[in-house]
Amino acid sequence: MSEESVTQEESLFEAPPIAEQERMCEAILFATAEPVTVKEIEARMPHGCDAAEALVHLRKRYEGRGVSVEKVGDAWAMRTAPDLGFLMQKETVEIRKLSRAAIETLAIIAYHQPVTRAEIEEIRGVSVSRGTVDQLLEMEWIRFGRRKMTPGRPVTFVVTQGFLDHFGLENARDLPGLKELRSAGLLDNRPPPGAMPQLGEGDEDAAEATEEGQSELFED
């Protein structure tokens, strides 16, 4: 009985008009402080809605306003326009001061992801302290990626949606200067010729792993 009526319902009620869908997306994004994925938005909307399309309309509508609709990875969020930050002194949160090592490690993970600890050490020329990684994990700016298919199957690090959200990036591909770095070959992994001092153990892993990862990341 119930199944039958559901099927009927679906055919009886068409998805609401796109303008109405846009309103719905607006309400959902407005109400939430965290970015919400398209999938999640759609799950909350009536059957048959196309959240992705509605969001594009919505983003356009908010162009130039005091609040803007931002894409963060595969999620969306509403944020105040950056040029109005000065009005929000009261809301400003103290951003934890990061050490130079932490900032560099974060940048290396963002630009080279997925990247192993050994690779980070190779680039920085020093070992990465546990505390640094822990801090970044705790801030939820980095997370573990999948393991590399190299001997020892080392874990990798990637940046999170929270990272993208914090720095107002739609995508890891939008990192500042990424293209230039790539074309300058500075994101390549060049294995050291012969007898370079080995900084960090997992070095052999590193070679293969990074190259794979990067090309994968920037494929699409």
Binding site: T92, I108, R124, P193, L199
Partner: protein, 264 residues
Amino acid sequence: MADETFDEMSTTESVAERIASEALIVDVDGFEGPLDLLLTLSRTQKVDLRKISVLELARQYLAFVEKAKRLRLELAADYLVMAAWLAFLKSRLLLPPDPTEEGPSGEELAAHLAFQLERLQAMRDAAAKLMARDQLGKDFFARGIPENVERVKKVTYTATLLDLMQGYARIRTKDEFRPYVMDRDAIFTMEQALERMRGLIGFAGTWTDIISYLPDDFTSEPGRRRSATASTFAASLELAKQGMVDIRQSETFAPIELRRKKDN
């Protein structure tokens, strides 16, 4: 080669330079390892990192390490390993290539070192650019009063036919193998008495002994009769309390009689 550098440095050293170099060396903690130190030294060349003279850089580094040694400052093993490697690199770069020797050429090694330095510098620049971006909670802001998304948990229960069958079989088998319980076959419960009396009370227009309300099959056997009497009495009290009947007893141990309430 190292000696040569060392001599150069020592002969020209003034007090002022000595203080300066001490400052530099004491500052060694400020460097994050040999690569960082090399990067800092390379800046003194004031050229594009791609055009850097690795030979010159090696000289500077070795001089630095020598100074540290002379001042008896402890240098981490990393620095000494790098020093040894740079000394090796320097000799490779200065001597004509030996065709019998295997491994990468001095130029290849130097190129890689230059690449490492350039890459480290690039990452530092990238980190600076990243931190210079507008940041959430500092330059742009999320919704100040987020509305909680109410999580409605809808629970659907399910069972299979087998569950049903097994459940039923369980009950029926339990009946046959059930743990010992008293079969209350001699008990006439208060509920039963109430139910019975409610059905009959309508006819009780005149005073009637409550004993006459006992069910027939509870009158013969003493145990059953006792139970039925007690529950019928209790039920009578309950009905009186509900205002459905009046109850009377002329004296102690006299029959207890009841009658339907007139106004009912």
